[in-house]
Homo-oligomer: 152 residues x 2
């Protein structure tokens, strides 16, 4: 099994993280890969870092960035004041897919959410990502909700 | 058309907001309605108030609390560093349903998200809430995603 390191993303990871987001059927149409990094990403990175209820996670193997995901800790009144953990923007580098790394990432996220006192984990996945849908179902996630988006 | 006031929730709203969350087919099984309010709700209310990226909204008509919703502003790297607006826990008091109030609430939320610079609004709705599914579709929301939950 590959040795993985999970840590909070740092700004020098940014170009690698954007490349990960863009190296994806859906993501490639909506990310801007440039050197230097587009300023909008730097602003977004800082906004994530400034928010104690967000955690951008970089996943490394042998000092190479091979994955990322964003965890959000969402306080709420419903379900007796339960905190929700939300997972967004999960990506794994092309050469590292289908090796169980996604499963280890989600397990890491679940463990992190438990430490933070969350009672529920939620995420949405694009209905065209058939592999992802099977993957989340295999991890015990229930597709109980319809996930809506509206572009502004 | 009913006059509605939208404002940030204050702690004295809390018992009314919990009653709204509980007055619902699904919510009634998972909320604790008590006087005084269960401490878990007070903690959750404070956690929401402490987070500048959360806004719990109380909706009033004639000084009566008739609705609530929670807005989350989520920074992220993907889609070129776009902020997302997320809507959670939308509730309307039983006597005020089917009068277009939900539509005005979501329109208010969308306008608020635009002011905050969000490029996308997202929400999930339980697949058993057929009226809600039709409602969000009628507002232009696209059900592009599968919404997963995992209880911890």
């Amino acid at each position: 099994m590959l040795t993985l390191i999970f840590r909070k993303a740092v700004q020098s990871d940014l170009s690698h993280l954007i490349a990960l987001l863009a190296d994806d059927e859906i993501g490639q149409t909506r990310e801007v890969v440039s050197d230097p990094v587009d300023g909008a990403y730097i602003q977004a990175f800082r906004a994530i870092g400034d928010d104690p209820n967000q955690l951008l996670v970089t996943v490394l193997h042998d000092e190479t960035i091979i994955g990322c995901m964003q965890l959000s800790y969402i306080p709420g009144l419903s379900r007796s004041g339960m905190w929700r953990g939300q997972i967004e923007s999960v990506r794994i580098a092309a050469g590292y897919r289908d090796q169980g790394i996604g499963r280890r990432m989600i397990e890491w996220a679940i463990s992190n959410f438990k430490e933070r006192g969350c009672g529920l984990v939620q995420l949405t996945s694009d209905k065209t990502r058939l592999d992802a849908l099977r993957f989340y179902a295999s991890l015990g996630f229930n597709p109980t909700h319809e996930g809506y988006k509206l572009s502004l």
